[in-house]
Symmetry: D2
Subunit: 360 residues, 4 copies
């Protein structure tokens, strides 16, 4: 029987991380298992930055956004950046991670993270560490699980923005464009577009023809609707064109959205129709804030399931939602498998039957 | 090929009704099918109170609570209340409904309603009318479908109330009790309790022992938690006791919550523990307001699926969510089958592992 | 120059208490003043239950409802309840409070509380303790200040409930009644009624004639509006009648709303009109939760102003909002002066011009 | 006694426009005055695009964002753009406006608009038309009134975004920058920054020294706070530098935020500190959506006051909030007077005492 486990959060933050942590701690305590928290993702694992997590530490964090453990986007123990003699080098510190956990008495490492973090977890498992993964991707683009926590909260944030843009669009007879997250998969655009009553949705999976978009706007105009709402996933791309996601400020690549695909599509569209067009890039506010009701339940379930996996000895697995049940899948089968929106997806088909235009 | 359909909403209102209506109209228009709306449920069907529904009529209603068609709780065409010679009589007017629809050219009737309305739809289908049902129960207690629209919105309203009660409970070292909907099934209590961080959840499916509840509160006190949050479904009942849902004002049965089970459980509990206890009865605000993101998508899917069923000739069925797909089930198999929370429900089991007390 | 102050929160909780505490600590630290927090209101002052408050302790509490210090409703150091020989006695422990503060080095006591707590503060000031008061009343019924923090948040909670009831009222052709806080003053009912589009508002300051209310509902019906929304302050009373705020469960006075004035008015109304009437009692959820934007700014201003008063040597005062400025008024002038809604209040007059009925 | 009035909304949309329109219509109807609505601002006034506004037309619009009348940003009847012989010309059509209103029987024109629209109203009044203005500026930058409706809603939207960015900032140890509206005045940045717990606020009225900003971030780091939140008004500018509000896409000036001042400040800051910096530009979502509680009351008061002014014969005025009362000021005194944040503003001073850095 396992006596002590460690937990870390890795990669970009996401609503519900604290709900997972809380569920892990409460369930572990309930079963007499101690929990160690690791600060700032794998960075803390390398640098032995641990803290004890009891009921007190997780009290009141369920509705809190972010992660009380902190996270880091880039620190990989197999290629850990260190400063030596004024130079920045990358070293393999994976043994250090295993040693630190051993010294702390942690028998299992629970990794709450995206594909990058789960790959590291898999690599550590191959060195003998017992690991359990909890999938985290706000884009919902992980093949092995039906839904990931944080996704519905991001969709809600996007939908609320669409509700707001709607009133401006209608009052000013404009096309309002909202660029949302989704570099490789259009899930957020698809769901928020439906929930926010969008007329046009552009996703990476369906390269768009701007003339078809203009046609859809014009048909609405002919039907007396002098405005339109368009949602664009950041990874959308024109037919035969390229994804436009990189941009620079002052000579460097920067996360600031400088004329991404939303701006391009809007500018192209405005040239073709007789309506003003305006763009909003939602950006980081999709990641932050309190998880919504749905995600609080889902994140809590993932946390409980992770401890269940530990107790059941199901190591080197990732917990995953399939239908209404949460089970385990081998980590090796879960990583590196991107879930794009299939052209036969029931929600996509429904949106098309509803008359939403996808740039086709 | 069907040319014209009619649609009505019956029973208590529920967030997402307008989203269903909008999806039906948009999808029908997209396929060249005309839609007639019927006012105030089966009352309008008997009284021939129809209106034409086009894109204009459903524009902007997606986020709106309630139903633009109006609804009525009690009007049954098979036992329709009429006034004759100063007396109130019940007559069978079902033939009138069929005739009215025929005169209007409506080939299929889409009924968006709960078990009562769907039973009427089934009875009409037996008289030869083609019907398609869309399930509506805010309590999520219909066996044939995984989730109904409006449920997640009600859970969200309850969770937001719990968030608010939490801060008072903590500041005042009190037990705060929230009575939520759920006369026969504890789904809203279960989901909102998990999402709102409740310590105790009482549901109709698990008769509660108030001593076990007091014990749970006391264990929290011993662990330094001087407050507790309890969610009580209105249909919860003490072990060996009765449901307490009826109450009277001035000699008549009244929907005002006069000391329902929440108040009883709170009063009983306060006598057993050394903490103040306060009750809030959430009531009608669980039914109203804008559907949340999840319900907007789900309600829209139901609406599209209803038109799909019409086009596919799948009459005398109800659209139903199974896993991630929406399909059709025979109406006869869907009605009169209450879905309670099974003791093996994965979400219930998860809540128990998390340490939430269910009065046991 | 003052070196150290103490702060406590007394009476019922209210959105914005933590924002005041945070502002006090941040401003004090900025000026090199130490802050001691007192737990659970005057109870902690008697029992010497103190903690040190620095930037770390108040980090992240701005949006948090409740009070991190805890509060108590009833503990008065001048009549402090103690257990002696199995009996409950009341003793004057005010000297103990002064001594405890002296021992802790606190030169000034900042009391964030309602009329009860401020009266205690005034009494302590007469014994030589330097005090500064911060007014807290969710009902906004304190004469010396234009607005109190928490009031707008409570109004928002009530308005959101009205928005939800609106859709049900309209769909079901009902009169929906919402009972809100306001035992002696109708501010919450007045403001939330206007913001929530109520047709009728009943407040303690204007005894209502139920026949006039019924008339207003009937005029709406004649104009094609088959529903009405009514807000009732818990202290409203019928013309010539009594306030109905006490109620009992199982032989004891209880906070559970058992047929308060909202239920009475609804039942009376239903008998006079041909529409179903439903009541919701909002209760404690008006007190809890995150302060809204307006209250976060106002509460922060009060906290800064309290430290300003300390630095400026303005003791035995209460900070108060007058127009757009926050200044100080003598505590002696501020307590025991209830601010009811005057019949010439500009917002009340405006509501009457708008056609809202006040039961007249 | 006036029998009929006309009303239009001009300029950019703003939460609360519909609440003003509703209040005007309800109050007018209550006093037996007819109301004509003009579509799309002054464009409809020139083109005689009128509709009748009764209780039915304004039912349910209180919580709705935008304006049911439509608006236009640029149409000025004194320089109205017309197409002649394939050319775009500007003609004076102000006489047409007066004639159209006369023909419709409207004796007074109520203009709900910003400085541009109110200037047109003033010019029309000089030609003999009776006008009453209702101030609309989401930036709150009109000298003659304490607060304008829509401002608090925009502040709330910005604050909610700050709440979300906060959790990301804390989890990732980043500086998160939010660019908000406010080209000439920093009111939105000031209020939302306080309500959202910002550490740094940059406003147009205080040119910022980026080194002082970096210093503030570094002091926080030394105190153990590895993250900071900065709000930047779009009109903020560096000491000795220029405002950066214009940007181009594909050779044309475009509303898309292409590296505005938020991006510049963030990029400059990141170079000076050892923390990642991220920017979000909130944009149009500040304008849209349902007015919040405060704005619903304020907008309603403005609408009632406008009809009061009509009835009282106070023409060529603008309704304005002063303290807690709404009165009238001469239009001529109200226009062209920008209200910037004065350096002695009580809220600004309070923010400085709280330790918020303003780039100084």
């Amino acid at each position: 029987m396992v006596k002590k486990i460690a937990v870390l959060t890795g990669g970009g933050d996401c609503p519900g991380l604290n709900a997972v942590i809380r569920a892990i701690v409460r369930t572990a305590v309930y079963h007499g298992i101690e929990v160690i928290g690791i600060r700032d993702g794998f960075k803390g694992a390398v640098e032995n930055d641990f803290l004890s997590l009891g009921l007190q530490e997780v009290s009141g964090i369920l509705p809190k956004g972010g992660t009380i453990l902190g996270t880091s986007n880039r620190d990989n123990p197999f290629a850990f950046t260190v400063q030596k003699n004024g130079q920045s080098l990358q070293e393999d510190r994976s043994d250090q991670v295993i040693k630190n956990l051993e010294n702390a008495g942690a028998e299992v490492l629970v990794v709450i993270g995206g594909d990058g973090s789960l790959n590291i977890a898999l690599a550590l498992s191959k060195k003998g560490l017992k690991v359990v993964g909890v999938p985290k991707t706000i884009d919902n683009d992980l093949m092995a699980t039906d839904f990931t926590f944080g996704f519905q909260s991001a969709v809600e944030t996007a939908q609320e923005a669409l509700d707001k843009l709607h009133t401006t669009a209608e009052s000013h007879h404009r096309v309002m464009v909202l660029e949302v997250m989704g570099r490789y998969a259009g899930w957020i655009a698809l769901y928020s577009g439906i929930a926010g009553g969008a007329d046009i949705i552009l996703i990476p999976e369906i390269p768009y023809d701007i003339e078809k978009v203009a046609e859809a706007v014009n048909i609405r105009k002919q039907n007396g609707k002098k405005f339109s709402i368009m949602v664009v996933a950041e990874g959308a791309k024109p037919l035969g064109g390229e994804m436009v996601v990189e941009r620079t400020i002052a000579g460097r690549t920067d996360p600031v959205k400088l004329g991404g695909i939303g701006a391009k599509a809007a500018a192209d569209l405005e040239r073709m129709i007789g309506l003003e067009t305006r763009v909003t890039v939602l950006g980081h506010i999709q990641r932050g804030g309190s998880p919504n009701t749905y995600d609080r339940v889902l994140a809590t379930r993932y946390g409980v399931a992770a401890v269940d996996a530990v107790i059941g000895g199901k190591f080197d697995t990732m917990v995953a939602l399939k239908g209404s049940e949460i089970g385990c899948v081998p980590l090796a089968d879960a990583v590196n498998r991107l879930k794009k929106v299939p052209l036969g997806d029931p929600v996509l088909l429904m949106a098309q039957k509803l008359g939403i235009n996808f740039g086709q």
